[in-house]
Amino acid sequence: MADPTETYVEVKDGAFKIRVLQAGTGAAPLVYIHGAGGLFWDPLLAGLADRFAVTAPEHPGFGQSQGLEHVPDLWDLVLYYNELLDTLGIERATLVGHSFGGMVAAEIAANNPERVDRLVLIAPIGLWLDEHPVPDISGIPPADLPALVFADPTGPVAASMPAPDPTDPESLLTAVNSLSSVLQFIWPLPDKGLHKRLYRVKAPTLLVWGAQDRLVDPAYGPAFSRAIAGARLEVIEGAGHVPQLEQVAATRAVIDDFLG
C-alpha cells in the first residue's frame, strides 16, 4: 500500500490551512472528498493511487484543518474548492466523494462541469425523499450509529472505526469541531437545492451504493441517477453506508471498471 504524504496547504492567503494526503504516480489527477467519518487513507485510496495522482483534502474545520469561518454557506464552499484546486495546480480531475463528500463533489461537478473529468459518488447525501428521511447523525445515541452505517454493525470493520477517547479533552473537542464543520452545510436536512443543479453535471458519473445502507437509503441511488444524464448505478451487496470498507474488493471492482 502506497504511503501518502501529508502536507498542510494554505489557500486564499492563509485563510485556509488544509491537511492534504497525496500519493500515486499516475499522471491523471484524482481528488477524493471524505464524509463525516473523516479523512483517512483506506484501501480504496491506496488502490486508486496505483493508477492516479490522488489528492485527498480534509474539509475546512475538520480535524486539524482550518478555515471554516470563511465558508459560511455552500456557495462559499464550492468557490473554496475552486480556489483549492487552483492552489494545487489541478485544472481538471476525476472527483470521488463519499457521503457528505459526495454531495460536495456533486455540487462542484454541477457548478464547474469543465473541471470534472469523471465523477464517482459513493452513497452521497444531498437529496431528500420524504419516504426515506436521512437520519440525524447528531441526534441519536452514538452507540446506535454503527447499525445505521454498517451492514454488519458488530463486524470487524465497524469495530475498527476510530472513536474519540472520552477521557481525552483534545480528542473530544476535535470530534465536536469536526462534526460541526459538516453539519454547517447539511442542517437541519441535507437538501440545499442540489436537485435543481444536478442537470449541469456533464462528467460521466458512477453512483455506488451499499445495498444495506440504512443511513442514506439505496432509494436515493435511482433519485441521483435519474437527475444525472447517463449515470451508472452499482449496488454492492453486504455493504452499508461505507461500501469501500465493508466490501473492499467489490467496490474497487466497480470503480476500476468505470474508470477504465
Partner: protein, 415 residues
C-alpha cells in the same frame, strides 16, 4: 435584593413511566400522545393565577421564558403571557421576559416590536431578556444551523438595539436580516431602552457580552447554588478582567425553592413533585444538549476542558432523594427561617442581587404552589429583601416603571 417569581409552566401530569417510555422531555415527546390541550387550558389558568398571586403578595418581579416542544415549559411565546400579565398585575412588579430567543426570529425586528409593545402595555415594567437559547430550541426545534446560533444572536441583538435607539427609518444590511426600512412603531417607553437581561449556561462569550454592554447576567440552571458557584465566579472574574465594576444587581441565579411550615413538612409535601421534576422534566439525552457547533469553538473548549459535561452528568446521575437534593443545594427547602438562611448564604456566596425563585416545580399542584408562593412572600421575602441594601449598590437594571419598595429595608436574615 430582588425576588422574582419565575414560572416554567411545566406539564404537571406526565405518565409515571414517562422516562422509561420516551426518549426525551424536549424536542420529541409525541404531542398527540402526551399533551392534552384540555389539561393545558387548565394549566395556563393556574400558571397565570400563580403569577398574579405573586404580584399581589409583593414579589419584586414576575419571570417567564421561552421554550419549544418541551414538557417542562410549554411557553412557546412568553410575550403572550406577558401581555396577559400586563393587564392583570399591579403597577409594582417588574415583568421579566427572560426572554425571547433572538436567533429564532427572522427578521429579529419582530422581537424589537413585541418588546416595545409590552414595554408600553406595562408602562415601562418590562425587562428584556435576550437568551442565546438552548440547542434543543434553536437547532433542533427551529432548525437553525448550529454554527449560526451565535452569529444570528449577535446580529439580532445589534438590530434590536439600533431599532430601539436610532431614529427610523433606516436601512439594516445584515447577514441574516436585510431590511430597507427599520422603523418600528412604537419604540420602547423606557429610555434609552428596557434593561437587558442576559441568561446563560456558562458560555464565555455571554459573560463578556454582559460586561461589555453593561447588561445583567443570570445563571439559569436547575442544579442549585453549589453548582452555580464556579460559573458565577467565572462571570465575576470576566467582569474584573474586562474592567467592570462589581455590583450584585448585575447578576441573578435561579433556584428551586420549597417552603413549608416546618422542615419536616417540606419534605412530606414537596418531595414527590421535586422528584417528578428531576426524573421527568430533565429527561433529555445529552446528544440533544450539545449539538456540535452550538457552542463556539472557544466555549466548547472551555466547557470540555473544565469538565462541564462530566460535572452535569455526575449531578444528573445522583439519586434524587430528599437529602441529596437539599445537601447539594439543588433545592432549598424547609421552614421560612431555614429557607431564608440558606438563600442569604447562597446569594452572598454567588454575590448576586437578583433571585430567580422557582416555586412551582414539576407536578406541584395549584394549591400547593399557592402555599409555596404565600409562605415565601410572607416568611422569606421580608428577610432577604435587605440583603445588599447597606452596601450602597444601585440597581441599574430594574425596569423604570416598576415601583421600588419605599420602606426601609428589613433586617437581613440571621443578623
Amino acid at each position: 435584593m430582588k425576588s422574582i417569581f419565575f414560572h416554567l409552566m411545566p406539564y404537571r401530569d406526565l405518565p409515571a413511566d414517562f422516562e422509561q417510555r420516551y426518549e426525551s422531555v424536549w424536542v420529541t415527546p409525541p404531542n398527540t400522545e402526551l399533551c392534552d390541550p384540555v389539561k393545558v387550558a387548565q394549566y395556563y389558568q393556574w400558571n397565570l393565577d400563580e403569577l398574579e398571586l405573586a404580584d399581589q403578595l409583593g414579589f419584586d418581579g414576575l419571570g417567564i421564558n421561552e421554550h419549544h416542544q418541551n414538557a417542562y415549559g410549554f411557553m412557546a411565546s412568553p410575550n403572550l403571557m406577558a401581555a396577559a400579565l400586563s393587564r392583570r398585575t399591579s403597577s409594582k412588579s417588574a415583568i421579566l421576559v427572560l426572554g425571547n430567543t433572538l436567533a429564532l426570529y427572522s427578521p429579529a425586528l419582530r422581537v424589537a416590536e413585541e418588546f416595545a409593545m409590552l414595554d408600553c402595555m406595562t408602562n415601562g415594567r418590562l425587562a428584556a431578556g435576550f437568551p442565546v437559547g438552548t440547542s434543543m430550541d434553536v437547532n433542533r426545534c427551529y432548525g437553525i444551523t448550529p454554527t449560526e446560533t451565535r452569529p444570528r444572536f449577535y446580529e439580532a441583538h445589534d438590530l434590536i438595539m439600533k431599532a430601539w435607539t436610532q431614529p427610523g427609518p433606516f436601512a439594516y444590511n445584515g447577514r441574516f436580516n436585510q431590511l430597507r426600512y427599520v422603523n418600528p412603531w412604537p419604540q420602547p417607553l423606557q429610555k434609552p431602552h428596557p434593561p437587558v437581561w442576559l441568561a446563560g449556561g456558562g458560555s464565555v462569550e455571554t459573560w463578556e457580552m454582559a460586561v461589555n454592554h453593561n447588561y445583567t447576567y443570570s445563571y439559569l440552571s436547575f442544579f442549585g447554588y453549589h453548582f452555580a458557584k464556579r460559573l458565577m465566579d467565572g462571570f465575576w472574574e470576566t467582569s474584573e478582567r474586562l474592567g467592570g465594576t462589581f455590583n450584585p444587581y448585575q447578576a441573578g441565579f435561579a433556584q428551586q425553592i420549597c417552603v413549608a411550615e416546618t422542615d419536616a413538612q417540606a419534605k412530606e409535601q414537596y418531595l414527590e413533585h421535586v422528584a417528578y421534576f428531576f426524573s421527568k422534566c430533565l429527561h433529555i439525552p445529552d446528544y440533544y444538549f450539545e449539538t456540535p457547533g452550538y457552542r463556539t469553538r472557544r466555549s466548547a473548549e472551555f466547557a470540555i476542558k473544565t469538565g462541564q459535561p462530566g460535572e452535569i452528568a455526575k449531578i444528573a446521575s445522583l439519586e434524587k432523594n430528599w437529602d441529596t437534593l437539599v445537601d447539594t443545594g439543588m433545592i432549598i427547602a424547609g421552614s421560612p427561617a431555614t429557607v431564608a438562611d440558606r438563600l442569604t448564604e447562597a446569594c452572598k456566596q454567588l454575590r448576586v442581587g437578583n433571585l430567580i425563585a422557582l416555586l412551582q416545580i414539576g407536578s406541584m399542584p395549584h394549591e400547593l404552589t399557592k402555599q409555596n408562593i404565600t409562605l415565601f412572600a410572607e416568611g422569606v421575602l421580608p428577610k432577604i429583601r435587605g440583603l445588599w441594601a447597606d452596601d450602597g449598590y444601585e440597581h441599574k437594571w430594574w425596569p423604570q416603571g416598576a415601583e421600588q419598595p419605599a420602606s426601609a429595608p428589613a433586617p437581613v436574615a440571621g443578623s
